[in-house]
């Protein structure tokens, strides 16, 4: 039957099925937890596979289900819980990566497909791009290059599935665990950054101060002087840690780090990224009602 003579709906159907099948050559099943398999995306021909961190609940006995039905063993290269990514390695030459596209090729309203492999066979979902926005921080403190939300339902085992555009290119990896109850996609640019870091260090490095904090309201005079209503109250300090050496005291209210305001916990987590490690930065606190400048050398979280 000549598809071109059929109506647009039939052509669309054919194109959707063909796209799913083509991208499906790069989508694997990931068996890394008892609850049920998840999906993964072939990252490189040398055997690297990207999946969702929360789907890989053990560090060993990991297995992949290939498009041809076979199973192979994989090992864990590293994880980044802040962006819910995990990098696995399987034998090289078996998987081929898909074509990729940057998120700036998408517009709100565009049709997108999710392609996953929670069982031996491929599964898919269809939806549209619901929202696109600038770089954002996950509640776990990770940095994602762009906010990409779709209305594609993520069925069980679809974390780690590919989000595919109308041209058949993968624009990111889907996960249900970044924000509770929402299906979000980690765009390719972020996947690349995290993969590079995981390959170099086995984990995403984070800065560390050695301080326990909780959110608190600032005293009115300080709030007015600073133009912010909240800061972080220091409730514990690690002896010999960066904060201790910088002269921080229990009861101080952290209001800025490195010149950037600190109002909430995720402000601090964001500022303590890998590039803060070993940097000496200003740390402003409210002590006894007045703003007191301190200086700390950020160490690395181990």
């Amino acid at each position: 039957m000549n598809v071109d003579n059929q109506g647009v709906l039939a052509q669309l159907s054919q194109a959707l099925a063909a796209t799913v099948e083509a991208v499906g050559q790069s989508v694997v099943r990931v068996e890394g937890r008892r609850r049920g398999a998840a999906s993964g995306i072939a990252w490189a021909e040398d055997g690297l596979v990207l999946t969702a961190h929360h789907s890989v609940q053990r560090d060993h006995d990991l297995r992949l289900g290939l498009p041809n039905g076979e199973g192979i063993d994989a090992e864990l290269v590293g994880r980044d819980p802040s962006t819910d990514l995990a990098l696995l390695r399987a034998p090289g030459g078996v998987l081929q990566p898909p074509a990729w596209a940057n998120v700036d090729t998408l517009r709100v309203g565009h049709l997108v497909l999710s392609v996953g492999r929670p069982t031996a066979a491929l599964q898919a979902g269809l939806g549209i791009v619901s929202a696109l926005d600038q770089a954002w921080r996950t509640p776990a403190g990770g940095k994602v290059e762009a906010y990409l939300q779709t209305d594609v339902a993520l069925y069980p085992g679809f974390s780690g599935s590919a989000l595919v555009d109308a041209e058949g290119r993968v624009v990111g990896m889907n996960t249900s665990a970044l924000m509770r109850g929402m299906s979000l996609t980690v765009p390719v640019a972020t996947l690349r950054e995290v993969v590079e870091t995981l390959l170099a260090h086995g984990r995403v490095r984070r800065g560390y101060l050695g301080v326990g904090v909780q959110p608190a309201k600032l005293p009115p005079q300080a709030a007015e002087a600073l133009g912010q209503k909240t800061g972080l109250l220091v409730v514990s300090i690690e002896s010999d840690g960066s904060a201790a050496q910088g002269g921080l005291l229990v009861g101080d209210l952290i209001v800025a780090l490195g010149g950037e305001p600190v109002r909430h916990l995720d402000d601090l987590m964001f500022l303590l990224g890998s590039d803060a490690i070993d940097a000496t930065v200003s740390l402003n606190v409210v002590r006894g009602g007045t703003v007191t400048p301190l200086s700390v050398t950020v160490s690395e979280r181990t």
Binding site: M1, Q6, V8, A10, V20, A121
Partner: protein, 197 residues
């Protein structure tokens, strides 16, 4: 000049209308039950086994005519039943042949959810085959789509972009997934029934 979106909408409406003409309501006594699909112009109807709870259910055609139906085929394991009414020249659906429906393919379910006659729900195939780990589906072949099946849809046809039957809607798994018995199982039961005739 119409846009692709407008052409798409025209195709969708055409599939829905063609399918609406070829489905029936099936009632057991006073309680409304479900949907059935005509597969032959002389009144052969396919539905779910669980929709048929009497020996002589009542069938209402799209044109409003009522019939008493005979149950001529029954497969409890696959939840299918075949009914027969005495009529002729009725609009009928054909079963899809050729390339098996696949993930991504467009499908539409047309039935009577909550008694709303001839309502349609569209989406894509999520998965086909027997490799299911979801407990209600494990061990049998199913066609699963992201259509919104609701009570009353049981026995409805799931049709492809050309209006051909790819499955018979049988079960709801969550609010966003519709499960259908594959057309191949329907074909197998019809072959049995027609041989007996």
């Amino acid at each position: 000049m119409t846009t692709v979106l407008q052409q798409l909408n025209a195709d969708l409406a055409a599939v829905a209308e063609d399918t609406q003409r070829a489905i029936v309501q099936i009632k057991n006594g006073r309680r409304g039950a479900g949907t059935g699909l005509l597969v032959r112009a002389d009144g052969l109807i396919v539905t779910n086994a669980h929709v048929v709870r009497r020996r002589d259910p009542t069938v209402t055609l799209a044109d409003g005519r009522h019939f008493h139906a005979d149950v001529v085929g029954y497969d409890a394991a696959r939840d299918l039943a075949v009914l027969s009414v005495e009529a002729e020249a009725l609009p009928a659906l054909t079963l899809r042949e050729g390339r098996t429906i696949q993930p991504g393919d467009w499908v539409m379910g047309v039935g009577h959810p909550w008694g709303r006659v001839g309502a349609s729900t569209g989406g894509v195939i999520v998965g086909v085959g027997s490799h299911w780990t979801w407990r209600p589906l494990a061990g049998k072949a199913w066609v699963v789509a992201d259509v919104h099946l609701r009570p009353g849809h049981s026995g409805c046809p799931l049709v492809d972009a050309l209006g051909r039957v790819v499955g018979v809607g049988t079960m709801i798994v969550g609010p966003n997934l519709g499960v259908a018995v594959p057309a191949s199982a329907v074909r197998a039961l019809l072959d049995q029934v027609l041989r007996a005739y």
